[in-house]
């Protein structure tokens, strides 16, 4: 619970400090009780929603994908590769993109490799990404190997 409170404080501090259109603050709270609903796709989908919400206008390429999906009967949503491609395109349009993910130890084990790899890609391809992560110490050691020289 305390970690959660720290995350909420950091999120509020970042939100309060947003300067105009230049920054986005996206956040997700992982929740053990929602483990069946949480995956890399849902977490990063939510991040994409918040990043796009911070842009001045909806990017054309996203608008097009949306129109196409609307015309299709099944109208399926974005898949993880598309979400990641868009994030790597849109985050560089910001001055800084903050992504806060609380309680990584509550994120389902079976989807972790995919989420870790996706965050790795975002940090590698978008140097203006700032990640704030919370979790148990054991996970911290893991993260140190995922982000060598990039983790405080």
């Amino acid at each position: 619970m305390l970690k959660q409170q720290h995350s909420s404080l950091v999120i509020d501090t970042l939100l309060d400090g947003i300067d105009g259109d230049g920054e986005a603050v996206a956040y997700v709270y992982c929740d053990f009780s929602a483990r069946n609903a949480q995956s890399a796709t849902t977490v990063l989908g939510s991040v994409l929603r918040q990043v796009v919400g911070a842009l001045e206008k909806i990017p054309d390429e996203l608008q097009k994908v949306f129109e196409r999906a609307k015309r299709q009967a099944d109208g399926c949503g974005l898949r993880l590769p598309e979400i990641l491609d868009m994030l790597t395109k849109f985050i560089p349009r910001l001055e800084r993109g903050f992504i806060c993910i609380d309680a990584l130890d509550e994120f389902p084990t079976m989807h972790r490799a995919q989420l870790w790899g996706s965050l790795q890609r975002l940090v590698r391809e978008c140097p203006n990404t700032r990640l704030f992560l919370t979790g148990r110490p054991r996970l911290g050691r893991k993260w140190r190997t995922i982000f060598p020289k990039k983790l405080i």
């Binding site: 305390l2 909420s8 404080l9 939510s46 929603r49 909806i58 405080i152």
Partner: protein, 71 residues
């Protein structure tokens, strides 16, 4: 926010974390985490324009231990 933008955001993801955030914020004890905001690593991470700054801040804690650390 125009309706279309709202519609597109909702299509991207139905998961907005705002409600959860609001609930956690309301339960936040006074003074919790002030040390974190004063931490030099945090302010560097938050404000530095330097592209060589470490971009990932990991904050860890033992559940129920009553302390959270940055390392």
């Amino acid at each position: 926010m125009p309706d279309e933008k709202r519609q597109i955001l909702e299509w991207i993801s139905p998961f907005a974390s705002r409600e959860r955030h609001q609930a956690v914020r309301d339960s936040r004890a006074e003074g919790v985490g002030d040390w974190l905001l004063r931490n030099r690593n945090f302010s560097t991470w938050r404000t530095s324009e330097d592209r060589t700054v470490k971009p990932v801040l990991f904050c860890y804690g033992h559940p129920g231990a009553g302390k959270t650390y940055i390392r």
